[in-house]
Amino acid sequence: MNAIDTPLFLAPSQTRVPPVTALDAAAPDAAALAALIGRVAAARDRTAFAALYKHFAPRVKAYLVRAGMVGGEAEDVTQNVMLTLWRKAEYFDPARAGAATWVFAIARNARIDHARRKREVAMPDMEEPEAPDTAPSAEALTLAAERDTRLRGALNTLTPEQRQIVQLSFFSDTPHAAIASALNLPLGTVKSRIRLAMGKLRAVLEEGL
């Protein structure tokens, strides 16, 4: 195990930056990722950032490629997403959203912005909530991790058909009417699968989020 795999055991002041290479090491869990963002916010901790980059950059790139960007574009936009993560880390509030959720929202906005780039004006940054006053407590991080686990459980209760529609909605740049015709389904069926899927997510997550 190298230093990146055990980022929580490094002192925040340590700024030596290990290389980012292997993709196959065990992924940090949700609480660890949230703690890493907390360290970037609190101390501009480059070691923590390296671990975040290793985890998120290849995922963000894959997301952008699936949304229709070619490799070079996806790579550039991913760099901007990670730079935003570095600059805005203090706005991350684990009481509000998990680390992956926050990064997803940044990546989604970067994707919208990129589609608009051909025009002269960039889209404004996403609405920034008040930055939390204090670093996230251990309790908040545990709660965030539990919520993420529940959400995965909720996703697993979807039927394969519901899950497919939800996934296509997030990962393809296609309106529901086009998804329906690509799957050879009536639009009404797509819409009702979405409603059923959201009902399940709501039922499983009711007491959280």
């Binding site: 480059r46 950059a57 490629v65 790579e75 959720t101 889209m123 404004p124 995965r152 996703l155 997030f170």
Partner: protein, 210 residues
Amino acid sequence: MIKHHPSAETLLSHAAGTLAAGHALVVAAHIEGCAHCQAELARLEATGGALLDEISPAAMEPEAFAELLARLDEPAPPPPPAPRQAELALPPGLRLPKVLKTAEIGRWRWIGPGVRHAKVRLPWAREQTLMLLRVAGGRRVIHHSHGGAEFTQVLWGGFHDHTGQYGPGDIGEADETTLHQPVADEEGCICLASLEGGLRLPWLSRLFGG
């Protein structure tokens, strides 16, 4: 008490970032004032996060991280200049949604008996048809040309159509398959609307026999 929310598929498209910019702004204005939809959006974004986490990763170029490290100390770009916004005469107690802060807003202009509109432009998506509409009591809000989807968020007063009664905080969602002819309530109505396929106004439809 909010009775009309965006449909499930609209909220999902909003969370996924695939809604047209004008519609997205109106939906965001609704969500700003609706705890129910805030929770729904939080769940959907968390779903996006979970899907991102389990996506099969695409390797970055070997030098990518080193290149980004060299950019970390670059200053962040300055925020865009505040957009031009006309001082609109508004009924007391009406606060425009915060999401409008990034948009240009024009003056109230008369566009027909009892109907005024103020153009809303998104600097990053100027082609979108967005407006504030102020309709006097009993007047028709918009007469459709059925060009595409339309979202109407009530900010003040209310309107009704065959789908029901809409008050402050309610959002109306119509598409080309919906024939709806909203009529403003007694006290009138101010709403934020996004239209696809252009707008046909009551006086124009009268002029042209629509």
